[in-house]
Symmetry: C2
Subunit: 338 residues, 2 copies
C-alpha cells in the first residue's frame, strides 16, 4: 500500500510550513491567495486528505457519528442510513451503527458503553428507542450530543426530529369517513410509546368529530409485531358484530391482521378493510397490497444528521429545519372504496 502523503509532504513540496497548509485545509482566511492556490494544487495532485485520527486527536473529536436502534423491529434502517450519509459524508463524518435491544434492562448502559467505546461525536436515536427518556437523560447529563427521531415534541427542538403522526392519522380518518367506512376498530401500539398515543388519539378524535364512534372494546393494544397482529386481528374479527375496518399501528401488525382474516375466510377488502402505518417493504407486495401511511424516513434522518452536526460544531441553532415532517397516506388495495 503506497504510503499516504501527509501534511508534511505537502508543506515541503509547496515550500511552506505545515501550519500554512493546515490553514488552507481548514479554509482559514489569512492566507495569501497565491500560496493558497499553489497548495491547493499540490493537495489535489497528491490526492491528499487529512488523517482523521490525527486531526481528531488534535481537536478532540472522532468525526464519527452513531445511530442507535432496536434491530428486530427496524424495517427502514437502510433508508435512515442513506439519509444520514447524504448529509454527513460531505462534512467529513462517518457513520457507525449500534443495534441494541430496547427491552433488555441493561440497555441504557449498553448504549452509554457504545458511545464511550466508539468515541462517536454524537448519536442519532431511532424509534422506538428514541422514546426512552432515561437514555436521553443520561446523554444529556454526560454532555453527549444526540438527536431523537419521534412523533412528539418531547425534547429540545435541536435534539429532536418530529414526524407529525397525528396529522397523518387525521388525514386517514377523514379519508375513511369519506369512503363511508363506519364499523372501525383499532389495534394500537404499546401504550408506553408516544407514537402509539398520537396515532390512537388523533385517529379516534377525528372520527368522533365526524360522528363516528369507536367502541371501547374495539380498541385493542398490540406490541407492533406480526404475531401480535394476528392475535389482535383474530380477537377483533371473532366479535359479533365484527368490525369492517381495522387500523393497525404499524404494517407488521396490519399484515398479521390480513393473515388472521385469511384464516377466518374473511375477504379483503370486500368484507374487511385494513390499514397499516410505515409503508414497509411488505406493504406494496402483499396481496392485497396494503393501504398505509408513509413516514419520510430518509428525510427525517437527514434533518437529524444536520441538527446533530450543528450541535457538535456549535453552530447557531437554525430554526429552518424545525418544522415537523408529515407522513403521507398511501391508498392501495386493502381498503374498500365508495
Amino acid at each position: 500500500m503506497k504510503k499516504r502523503s501527509t501534511i508534511n509532504d505537502i508543506a515541503q513540496q509547496a515550500g511552506v510550513s505545515k501550519r500554512t497548509v493546515s490553514r488552507v485545509i481548514n479554509g482559514a482566511a489569512n492566507v495569501n491567495s497565491d500560496t493558497r492556490k499553489k497548495i491547493e494544487h499540490i493537495i489535489k495532485q497528491e490526492g491528499f486528505s487529512p488523517d482523521k485520527k490525527a486531526r481528531g486527536l488534535a481537536v478532540r473529536r472522532s468525526y464519527l457519528l452513531g445511530i442507535i436502534y432496536d434491530n428486530p423491529g427496524t424495517f427502514y434502517i437502510d433508508q435512515v442510513q442513506e439519509g444520514v450519509l447524504d448529509v454527513i459524508t460531505e462534512k467529513g463524518y462517518e457513520l457507525i451503527v449500534h443495534p441494541c435491544h430496547y427491552h433488555q434492562d441493561n440497555f441504557v448502559d449498553n448504549c452509554l458503553n457504545f458511545v464511550k467505546r466508539s468515541s462517536v461525536d454524537g448519536v442519532i436515536v431511532l424509534p422506538p428507542v428514541s422514546e426512552s427518556s432515561g437514555l436521553a437523560e443520561n446523554f444529556r447529563q454526560r454532555g453527549i450530543n444526540y438527536v431523537r427521531m419521534t412523533s412528539v415534541k418531547l425534547d429540545d427542538p435541536d435534539k429532536i426530529v418530529i414526524s407529525d403522526d397525528r396529522t397523518a392519522v387525521e388525514e386517514l380518518a377523514r379519508y375513511l369517513a369519506a369512503q363511508n367506512h363506519s364499523d372501525i376498530a383499532v389495534i394500537s401500539g404499546p401504550g408506553a410509546y408516544s407514537s402509539s398515543i398520537e396515532r390512537l388519539e388523533g385517529f379516534c378524535q377525528t372520527l368522533r368529530d365526524l360522528n363516528i364512534n369507536i367502541a371501547k372494546d374495539w380498541i385493542v393494544e398490540g406490541n407492533n409485531t406480526y404475531e401480535s397482529g394476528i392475535e389482535c386481528g383474530r380477537l377483533l374479527l371473532q366479535k359479533v358484530p365484527r368490525p369492517a375496518t381495522i387500523f393497525a399501528n404499524n404494517d407488521e401488525m396490519a399484515v398479521g391482521v390480513i393473515k388472521a382474516a385469511h384464516d377466518l375466510n374473511i375477504a379483503i377488502p370486500e368484507a374487511l378493510s385494513v390499514v397499516g402505518f410505515d409503508d414497509n417493504l411488505m406493504a406494496s407486495r402483499m396481496i392485497p397490497s396494503l393501504t398505509t401511511i408513509r413516514r419520510p424516513v430518509a428525510q427525517m434522518a437527514s434533518i437529524a444528521a444536520k441538527k446533530l452536526i450543528g450541535q457538535i460544531e456549535g453552530l447557531p441553532i437554525q430554526n429552518t429545519q424545525s418544522e415537523s415532517v408529515i407522513p403521507r397516506l398511501i391508498i392501495r388495495e386493502s381498503t374498500s372504496k365508495k
Copy 2:
C-alpha cells in the same frame, strides 16, 4: 462532559511510567505481577480505556471495519451487522456501513474512496457487490484488506466466505422430485452472478440426474427484483402448457411470481408451486407463506469478520473456518405436497 482519563493519569496514580501502563494494557509479558494488578485495579476503577484515535495514530490503524453492500437489494443487512458486531466488538473494532450502487459505473472508485476517506482497516463485501472481481482486484493491488461473501470459491480462502448454494438447491431439487413435481420452470438471476449460475446449474443438473428435464424456454432470466419476478412469472404462466412449479432465484422474485399467479387466477399451491431463495422477511408472512432456502447470513458474517481481523492483525491463516456454510431448505405453504 467529565474529562476522560488518559494513560498518563493511570501512570501517575500507580506511580509508574506510562510505558508500564502501556505494557499492561497490551498484555505484555514482562510486568511484575504486583504492579500489574495494581495498575489493572486503577484502570478498572477509573473506567479507563485507551483512546482509539491515539492508539491508531501510533500503530497506523483505525480500528474501524467497513461493510460494503448494495442498498436497495439488501434485505438482510441487519443480520449481517449483528453477526459482524458479535465478533469485532470484543476485539475493539467498530463497524462503518457503506451502501453503494453496484450498477453505477463509478462504483469501484466510490468504494475505494470510501476506504480512503474512512480509513477503515478492512472491509467485508456482501453479495452481489462481492461478485465484482474489479473491486476485489483494486483492493488487492492497493493492499486493502477485504473479505467477500459469495457462493463460489472465486478468491483466496482467507478472503472469502462461501455459502454452498449448489448443495442447497440440490436438496431442493431432490425434495421436489420426491414430491412428484415435474413440470418445473426456473427464473434465474442475472447471468453475470456466480450465485445465479450455481443455483441454476445445481438445480437443473440434479433434476436431470433424477430424470426430470427442464425445457430451454422454461428457464428465463430475471434481475432479482419484485417487478422482474412479476414479469417473468407472467411470461411463464402464459405458456401452453404452463409450468406447475417455479423456482425463483430469490424471494423478491418469488413474491412477484405469486403476484402474477394471483392476477392470472392461478391457485397456489394447488395449481402452481413457488420456491424462492433467501428467506427474507416477507417469505414467512406472505399468503401463502413461501417455501424457500435460508442462507445463514449472520453466521457467514461472523466468519467473514474473523477472517478480516485475521488479515489485519497478521494472524496465521486458520483453516478451521474454511469449510463453507450450507443454506437450508425451509418448506412452507407455497409448494404442494404428495
